[in-house]
């Protein structure tokens, strides 16, 4: 295949409240996702990071087509799927699956594990009872569960085992992309490592692509090929995982990564403290959305939204201060170099 498996361009999701504001004025709109672009190649992992409310989960829901995009494009294996309906949407949904944070909430307590894993295959139709059974056995073995456990109910399993069941179910239709929304946050430290290893093994064996959402930056840096950092509905920086972790260029990325807990008592990081709280997404700040909290804010930041420009070391960054952006001259408003 040429080109990336998933290619997202200028994707938007604006939520308008249901109540009528006609008498008061135009309805306020939350720009939860406001023009994000990224792509994921086959066998690669993209990490989406940012604080609560930055739009990462809405982005994931758009990819899964659980939300209808307000604008932009989602190209999957070369074909647009943002407006797909009927058979095409069903086809797309077999190719893209999800694993969520809480393995207690995502598995029906009234179904046997065997039936939980078999359900997507049965819904897809066209398989005999025997084929379904064989596939279930195969899937359970694949995620490291004994097929004999199939007749048990979810409450008989530990958190880590439940997450294996959720992964087996996610793999049932042989998807090419899996959206992992905080897949290990609810798990104990020792179990977390098992699940992360399993996800990596499966990726290698099945050439899966992942979109991983996590607030644990160490998990993201460990798992991802590329990391995209979101703030108030926009990607402010994106690039190879190592570059983002070791040489972040956007002040927000720098602050985010500096807030990681130390790996050792002697390693107290020089923290970049952000002032204030994340502004309301009803009324995002003018210019750069981060300017109200940015420790390095300049006058231009309040007026002009910085373009997303190539960053030194790979990827890109949307900041007036980023060296690569300056070198590119920013055309129209390039008063800085003269």
């Amino acid at each position: 295949m040429n080109g990336p498996l998933l290619d997202v361009r200028d994707l938007k999701k604006h939520f308008a409240p249901r109540t009528s504001w006609a008498l008061i004025g135009p309805a306020p709109v939350v720009r939860a996702v406001d023009g994000v672009s990224f792509h994921v190649a086959e066998g690669e992992t993209l990490g989406l990071v940012g604080e609560s409310g930055c739009g990462k989960t809405t982005t994931a829901r758009l990819l899964l087509r659980l939300e209808q995009p307000s604008g932009g494009h989602i190209m999957f294996a070369g074909a647009p799927v943002e407006a797909a309906t009927g058979a095409r949407l069903r086809q797309y949904r077999t190719q893209v699956q999800a694993v969520f944070q809480d393995p207690y909430g995502s598995l029906s307590p009234r179904m046997r594990v065997r039936d939980i894993v078999a359900e997507p295959i049965e819904v897809a139709g066209q398989f005999s009872r025997k084929q379904v059974d064989e596939r279930v056995q195969e899937l359970m073995a694949l995620v490291g569960l004994s097929p004999r456990m199939g007749s048990r109910y979810p409450h008989e399993f530990s958190g880590g085992q439940r997450q294996r069941i959720a992964i087996a179910r996610g793999l049932a239709l042989q998807p090419r992309l899996i959206v992992l929304d905080e897949p290990v946050s609810a798990l104990d430290v020792s179990i977390r490592a098992q699940i992360l290893n399993l996800l990596q093994d499966l990726q290698e064996r099945l050439q899966l692509s992942y979109v991983l959402i996590s607030h644990d930056l160490d998990v993201v840096a460990h798992m991802c090929t590329t990391i995209a950092v979101m703030y108030l509905g926009k990607i402010v920086e994106m690039g190879p995982s190592k570059r983002i972790r070791d040489a972040p260029q956007h002040p927000y990325t720098q602050a985010l990564f500096s807030a990681r807990l130390p790996a050792h008592p002697s390693g107290q990081r020089q923290r970049i403290r952000l002032s204030g709280e994340v502004p309301s997404p009803f009324d995002p700040p003018s210019g750069c959305r981060f300017h109200t909290r940015c420790p390095m804010v300049m006058p231009i930041c309040r007026q002009v939204e910085p373009p997303f420009a190539a960053a030194a070391g790979g990827g890109g960054v949307a900041c007036h201060l980023a060296p690569a952006a300056l070198q590119q001259g920013q055309r129209g408003e390039a008063v800085l170099s003269d």
């Binding site: 490592a193 807990l261 790996a263």
Partner: protein, 333 residues
Amino acid sequence: MTDAAADLTDDALLRVEGLEVHLADRDGLRVVRAVNGVDFTLARGETVGIVGESGCGKSMTAMSLMRLLPASARIVDGAVSFAGEDLLAKSEAEMRRLRGQQIAMILQDPMVSLDPLYRIGDQMAEPLRIHKSMSGTALRSKLEALLRAVGISSPERRLRQYPHQMSGGMLQRIVGATAMSCDPLLLIADEPTTALDPTVQAQFLDLLDELKQRTGLSLLIITHDFGVAARLCDRVLVMYAGRIVEQAPVREIFDNPRHPYTQALLSTVPGRQHASGRRLRTIEGQPPDLADLPPGCSFAARCPKAQQRCHAEAPPELRLGDRHTVRCWYAMS
């Protein structure tokens, strides 16, 4: 009590000896040994972290100190002394006078600690009204000062608001401010930052650090995250299956962990291990059934170094150095 702990007790604010907590199973037939002989001390001004995974007994230990165990749990043995007083001998009325005044607690989820139906100001005022008989202008200015001290601006307005009008990080700071309101000697924080975003977590840990410096209180932090311990603690206790399997000053725990469980836990976390390979180290197997503990070391079934002796005999607490103890037969090798 062990020798190692005894050395530290001159200045001890809290001393826990041989604490055992049993939980009744639903059918009442099995006894779950949630806490199985825990000894430790906490000096004045010291910050100690109890690190362990779900079900290791860390929260049960904390709740025992507050005497706030669930109805199915019972303290069956041990002693807890706090500022020279025997906490386990106190009546419920006496405990109520201590809680929120001399011992305060912060829980994981601020929405559990705060009532959604009451204004922030009314909730924050409660301990001050009860313990300090404060009211009127004095109370209001105290509350405003408390909010300012945890970095919340326009406190007059915040005090009139309800919990749903604020972010999680702000609510946790309010819980922190409330806990500090009566100048407690001991603050117990049970996973205080687990529900928070990393930036907010870092801010909250800064706040705890600052409160500690300013007031000299003792802090007991319950966490599953060694990073929290690295950030804040003077000393770390590692718990497994109801027991403290290792305790040492924080640097010693990181640089020279001697219990195989501590070693394994430290190396399973991405970004914190020495090797930078793609595969993470894991701990195979599951913790033991607390209603049916093995006769030997409770970690033996999962331990890569286990010998025959480990399965047969529970290791005693070995003293390795000045303040380092470990429950492992082979910690010296």
